[in-house]
């Protein structure tokens, strides 16, 4: 008989992931990343519109848009695989918000599918999270407790304060306290804000996973090449064990990120965000340690992974919210993540 629970990727999914990796290696190689972070402070992090369009043309924002609406008509698992690659390459930009906007209707969302429009996000629930890439954006996807609204970015910029972002490739703005908005959700649409938040958390987790896996590779490569005491440092057990724990973190979060993409369950998504955040942040730290003094330099990419991981960990479902969601699942009879 055919066994079903087949958690492995299909051939199409593998091809999609390989295609995305190839595109990013070509269009956003390490030199490009370095140009972004080494550029002058004012303009350096400005979004590359040509690249954005190319991402759009490659279908990154259209993956989940139905074919009838000009999209690719795939699902969350495929989007997760593509976003994992984006995280691996440290691709900057409000990728998640633009992807979500591509699935919405309205004039401001119009060019999001093709990558003509850059959309960033403002989550008005919970803690005040800075808005990324606001100055480069055309529109802001504002999520209230139930309201979902697209606002011209210019309107938000006026009342916002730029801050010196810890991540050199992710400019951040602090915005004014949220204004109370008319609930835009019409009949039958009340669940949309919650759904968008969950999808945003999952796609963010996917990027964290990509970063966490990439830092395992960086650490292992370095441990094989760097010699001390007459042998590669990777032959020292203290270094080996750091690397092994990095893999355990990355693979544990991979299993739950992929599962959440399939089940779309709130508990699975909370677990995915929690563990992927942790994997990205801790793997970057351990990777830095494996690199020794080199790890503390601007020149090594490790700090970029760590800083981006910090930014993403604060976005959408942060640790406290995810843990509360999961705790609630333990005492409700409705949900079980097993």
């Amino acid at each position: 008989m055919n066994g079903a629970v087949d958690f492995q990727l299909t051939d199409d999914q593998r091809a999609l992931r390989a295609g995305m990796r190839e595109l990013l290696e070509r269009r956003f190689p390490r030199t490009r990343l370095r140009a972004v972070v080494d550029g002058d402070a004012e303009r350096g992090a400005e979004l590359d519109r040509a690249l954005w369009r190319e991402l759009g043309a490659a279908g990154l924002f259209a993956l989940r848009v139905p074919e009838s609406a000009g999209g690719v008509g795939l699902g969350l698992p495929e989007a997760v695989l593509a976003f994992e690659e984006a995280g691996r390459a440290l691709l900057p930009g409000p990728l998640v918000a633009t992807e979500l906007a591509a699935g919405l209707s309205g004039a401001l969302a119009a060019g999001a599918v093709q990558g003509e429009t850059v959309v960033t996000a403002l989550d008005e629930e919970g803690a005040q999270v800075p808005v990324e890439h606001l100055a480069s954006a055309d529109a802001v996807l504002a999520l209230g407790s139930t309201a979902v609204e697209l606002i011209p970015a210019a309107e938000v910029v006026r009342a916002a304060q730029p801050i010196r972002s810890v991540d050199p490739a992710t400019p951040l703005h602090r915005t004014a306290p949220p204004r109370t908005r008319q609930d835009q959700a019409g009949p039958g649409r009340s669940g949309i804000a919650a759904r968008l938040r969950r999808e945003a958390a999952l796609l963010t987790a996917a990027q964290q996973l990509g970063s966490a896996s990439r830092t395992v590779e960086l650490a292992v490569d370095h441990a094989k090449r760097r010699t001390q005491f007459g042998r590669p440092i990777g032959a020292f057990q203290a270094v080996q064990h750091l690397c092994a724990q990095m893999l355990v973190r990355a693979e544990s979060s991979r299993s739950v990120v992929y599962a959440a993409a399939v089940t779309e369950g709130p508990g699975d998504i909370a677990a995915a965000k929690l563990l992927a955040d942790e994997a990205a942040v801790h793997n970057a730290r351990d990777c830095l340690q494996v690199h020794g003094g080199m790890g503390f330099t601007w020149e090594a990419d490790v700090h970029l992974h760590l800083k981006r991981a910090w930014v993403r960990a604060g976005q959408w479902q942060c640790a406290a919210a995810a843990e509360e969601e999961l705790a609630a699942g333990l005492v409700s009879t409705v949900e079980t993540c097993l």
Partner: protein, 387 residues
């Protein structure tokens, strides 16, 4: 990626569930942990029930007397039996998960006919005589010797940490059949034998664990005679046979316990609600985090099992990744439990206190966490051989 089950698999699950609902009430009361004959009878009785219902050796190949089930069906079986609170494999562990699969893969037709059916019926219990006082993590440096005398091996030495030795009929025994020297490195001179536990010269001395009970034992082997026909695999090729054994151990051995972790966590949450500890946000969030860990362990298991299914049933290296995380989470779970239960955590009469104590063995037994990390670093990540 597809986490849905086929109709056949759903069907299998429902039949199993129905059978469990009928079968479990027929079980006698659980024996006291110190009552070894009682435990043996209980565990073997359960195995007999499984056998008669057609669930024995579910994942074993059909030609070995098993059911030839897919890894996914096996997963469903382990999940459902644990959910229903069925007995754990217990005394059958080594026979069903270890020695049996090894004999099925490496044994002669006579050996398979002699040893496999009694394991499946729950008639014979096996134990594992690998570790020695001076050879634990460095298993290949074992010193128990077997000297050929005609058609028997004469075995002398000692083994330690042998679980269930007191009630076992057979022991999967690793012995040294060639001395270590320049031509024969230590891995090469090892042989895998099936030793009858009632043979003259075998002495078992129970060891008391930190839980106060005797779960494992020391074994002294004084010129024990084992027929050459009891050798599985070639002489001096026992290390390879052992690697086959260990891959089974790390494959699906802990599936039931992942389900159990989630159950314990839910019970803890209920207890915390009842005793007011739930209002402590730090503790509540800690339990929430453990729920994420349980979810990851379960998904990791599904991942490993579906990989095994694709590659033809051989458990992959994912087993070491899983074991590292699992053993850690299990200990963290019981640390959180102590915080939920407060003063009750010091009452050794409570069942979960025993579980807390036993959780301490998980990072040691079946290969310590340090050894697992060595395996991950060298075999999965390809880092240079270390010291």
């Amino acid at each position: 990626m597809d986490l849905a089950f086929t109709e056949d698999e759903e069907d299998f699950r429902h039949r199993l569930r129905a059978w469990l609902a009928d079968a479990l009430p027929m079980l006698p009361d659980r024996p006291h942990p110190a009552d070894w004959p009682g435990r043996r009878a209980y565990d073997c009785g359960w195995q007999r029930m499984l056998h008669d219902a057609g669930y024995a050796g579910l994942h074993w190949p059909k030609d070995a007397g098993g059911q030839g089930a897919t890894p996914t069906q096996h997963l469903i079986f382990l999940e459902e039996t644990e959910r229903a609170g069925a007995p754990y494999v217990g005394a059958g562990f080594v026979g069903l998960l270890h020695a049996g699969p090894t004999i099925a893969a490496e044994g002669t037709p006579e050996q398979r006919a002699r040893w496999l059916p009694p394991i499946l019926r729950g008639d014979e219990v096996w134990c594992q005589g690998f570790s020695e006082p001076d050879a634990g993590s460095d298993l290949a440096s074992l010193r128990t010797r077997a000297v050929r005398d005609g058609d028997t091996y004469v075995v002398s030495g000692s083994k330690i940490w042998t679980s269930h030795a007191e009630i076992a009929d057979w022991c999967e025994l690793l012995v040294r059949t060639a001395p270590v020297n320049a031509d024969t490195p230590k891995h090469r001179g090892i042989t895998w034998l099936a030793m009858p536990m009632d043979a003259p010269g075998v002495t078992v001395r129970p060891l008391r664990t930190l839980a106060g009970t005797a779960e494992f034992a020391e074994m002294f082997l004084d010129e024990v005679r084992v027929p050459v026909t009891h050798r599985v695999g070639e002489e001096n090729d026992g290390w390879r046979v052992t690697m086959v054994t260990l891959s089974f151990e790390r494959g699906t051995a802990f599936v039931g316990e992942v389900v159990a972790c989630r159950r314990v966590l839910e019970a803890l949450a209920r207890t915390a609600k009842a005793n007011g500890r739930w209002d402590d946000a730090v503790l509540r969030r800690r339990l929430g985090r453990l729920a994420a860990e349980c979810a990851a362990l379960w998904r990791l298991t599904q991942w490993n099992v579906s990989e095994a299914q694709r590659t033809g049933g051989v458990p992959g290296v994912g087993g070491s990744v899983f074991k590292l995380r699992f053993s850690q989470v299990r200990q963290e779970l019981y640390e959180a439990a102590a915080e939920v239960l407060g003063p009750d955590a010091l009452d050794a009469g409570q069942e979960w206190v025993a579980d807390r104590l036993s959780s301490l063995s998980y990072t040691i037994a079946a290969g310590t966490s340090q050894i697992q990390r060595n395996i991950v670093a060298e075999r999965i990540l390809g880092l240079p051989k270390g010291r």
